[in-house]
Amino acid sequence: MTTMTDPPKASFQLSMLIYDTRYRSYTFQFIALVLLMLLLGYLGANLVNNLAAQGQNISFGFLSSPANYDINQRPIEYDSQSSHLRAAMVGVLNTLIVAVLGCATATVFGVTAGVLRLSPNWLVRKLMAFYVEIFRNIPVLIWILIIFTVMTAVLPSPNQFRGDGADASMFMDAFAFTNRGVYVPAPVWGPGSLVVVLTFLASIIGVFAYRRYATKLLYDTGRLLPMGWPSLVILFVPTILIYFVLGQPISLNYPALKGFNFDGGLHIRGSLIALWFALAIYTGAFIAENVRAGIQAVSKGQTEAAASLGLRPNRIMNLVILPQALRVIIPPLISQYLNLTKNSSLAIAVGYMDVTGTLGGITLNQTGRAIECVLLLMLFYLTISLAISAIMNVYNNSIKLKER
């Protein structure tokens, strides 16, 4: 029989905070924390004191006073009598518009270029390498300015569309490409158009349901149903039928010359196009490299194994390579999306009224509330970046290797 004796309980001594490895790291972390807080406190007090010395204070009251300036691209109702807060909201929406358009387009460019960079065709491969190297090695601000300047200089002004034998004419009488932007027909939603839209949405769900059923039938019974044409029929026929049954509720509003400008239709401004396109091709070049890295991270044996099973190159890419490559591609893709969103603050270079242009530009300047405006701007960009990060992480979790 053995007796267990309790280990001697050392009483805690102050010197152990430094000499005992169990506590030492806590001690230093605590000291660092205190120092950091002191520094923050010093800077904060310094700021407040200096502002007070200049007779100013930190106040967000200006946000509710009238903005007194106009904004050209207004996704929501806004006029010069709206508040500065409203102007900031317009800016936020404009930032989101260009960020979403940019991210989507950059992904398309990036994936296409990334896959083609590995093409067996020498010319295609080199062309894509050329694209990547040219676009990612020139600052995006330069690209924005180049595209904007070229658009302004090359495209005709609305005046040149005027009169008989005009220098310029509209494309298919519906699209006008001018140096003030592109005018395209805009849909006019008449009564009953909601039914048409709902029918179309239901058709999309129907297509997915049909394809799922067909796959299930194939696995269960081995019967192969045609996929292509039934999908198209389900997608379009009900919507078109409903559209005509309800008497064509959706019509198009065509742009037409009126006064100094084109009137009617949808005006996509040159500043938006320049910013959107420049951000998309620039970020697309980075995404292309991510995609290439992701594909090359998948072992060549996978391709060969798939080929030996008789899969065609297209299906090898879609069914074998890309699903595995995505695990490598998505994390850097998130940071590219974040970069694109933050780069959109270069909008002021072409006069696109994003949140940096309204809140951080005109409002800041007219009210002189620099610190408040910049704090709000930082808060906005931080929020939007964390939101993009969160959404993309959810997607990343859904495609990552499931370990059971």
Binding site: L43, Q54, T152, N159, F260, N261, D263, G351, G368
Partner: protein
């Protein structure tokens, strides 16, 4: 992460705010140079010439102040500022004086804590249009695309003007005058609006200036003047009276040509004597020597000479004196008495 970003902002703000101290005169003397904020380039008002030497109507104010304070009209560090950066630059102490055709407004004077020391150019906002547009009045601009420099009072005037006349427009915000010129000439906007003096200056740089016309409507009052930080009244006084010395010099007939002769000995006119320091002790009252005004006038001439040399009718900019003539000539340039 939130904390770090916030910390960075506070550091920048704290440093910027900490730099502004009360005794600007001592700082300038210790530095040996006057930091003067000007535009990034507006021909006639402030632009570097072919040799990189800044010259222009606003630049002359900077040089006069430098001559008065430091005895050398070239002891100026010109800091180009945009419409957006100018106030931060002044408030933070990066510049001692802002001479950048800046409009004197209530909120800038009070809420932004600046002191406008005077008005060196009485201006108003106008519209520049191509003759081919066939417009003769700004009220016919319904639906027009208007290029406008962002971050200026012109933006607010424009919104007010179109709202008051119940007509619509599409603003195209641009950052600098050069960009506005490019957009306007390419036809990306129907009209370009800014202060009438700026329009004249811009038009002067066009290939065919006669194809463009400035519309008769002046839609705002734009008193442009140099400004300093609120709170250092001694420095404000120096800049204010240096400017008025230039204005008074024109009224009294002191020019860069005759200033040597007039300042050699006390003459018949007591006010000229007081300005030039041959009589009385005016210099000591603002903490300078007695010849401060003489140096300020000598560097670029009196107000009228500066006007004619940089933006007057014989220059490509071709501005008439108008409101900016001396009060004795039907204008409103009026220097308080030197006594």
């Amino acid at each position: 992460m939130k904390k770090t970003v916030f910390l960075g902002a506070l550091t920048v703000a704290g440093l910027a705010a900490g730099a502004s101290a009360a005794a600007t005169l001592d700082d300038v003397k210790a530095r040996g140079k006057l930091n003067c904020g000007v535009t990034t380039g507006l021909v006639g008002f402030a632009a570097p010439d072919a040799n990189g030497v800044w010259e222009g109507f606003d630049v002359a104010i900077c040089r006069a102040v430098a001559a008065a304070v430091l005895g050398d009209g070239n002891a100026v560090e010109f800091v180009p500022t945009t419409g957006k950066t100018r106030f931060t630059a002044l408030a933070s102490g990066e510049i001692d004086l802002l001479a950048r055709n800046t409009t004197w407004t209530y909120s800038r004077d009070t809420d932004l804590k600046f002191d406008f020391v005077g008005v060196n150019y009485y201006d108003g906002q106008g519209f520049l249009v191509p003759k081919s547009l066939g417009v003769s009045s700004a009220k016919e601009l319904d639906g027009a695309t208007v290029c406008i420099q962002t971050g200026t009072t012109t933006e607010l005037n424009l919104a007010d003007f179109f709202r008051a006349n119940n007509i619509s427009y599409e603003p195209v915000p641009i950052e600098t005058n050069a960009e506005g010129q490019q957009q306007y000439l390419a036809g990306a906007c129907d009209t370009y609006t800014t202060d009438a003096s700026g329009l004249a200056s811009t038009r002067a740089a066009f290939e065919n200036p006669t194809d463009h016309v400035i519309l008769p409507e002046i839609i705002s009052k734009e008193p442009l003047g140099p400004l300093v930080r609120h709170g250092d009244n001694d420095w404000g006084d120096i800049v204010r009276w240096t400017f008025y010395a230039l204005v008074a010099a024109e009224e009294m007939g002191i020019t860069s040509a005759n200033i040597g002769e007039l300042s050699a000995a006390a003459g018949a006119n007591p006010e000229i004597n007081r300005i030039l320091g041959t009589e009385g002790e005016l210099g000591a009252m603002i903490g300078l020597d007695n010849e401060w005004a003489k140096r300020a006038i000598a560097v670029g001439g009196n107000y009228g000479e500066i006007f004619e040399k940089n933006i007057g009718e014989k220059t490509p900019i071709g501005l008439a004196r108008g409101l900016n003539a001396q009060w004795t000539q039907g204008g409103i340039m009026y220097a308080p008495p030197f006594r």
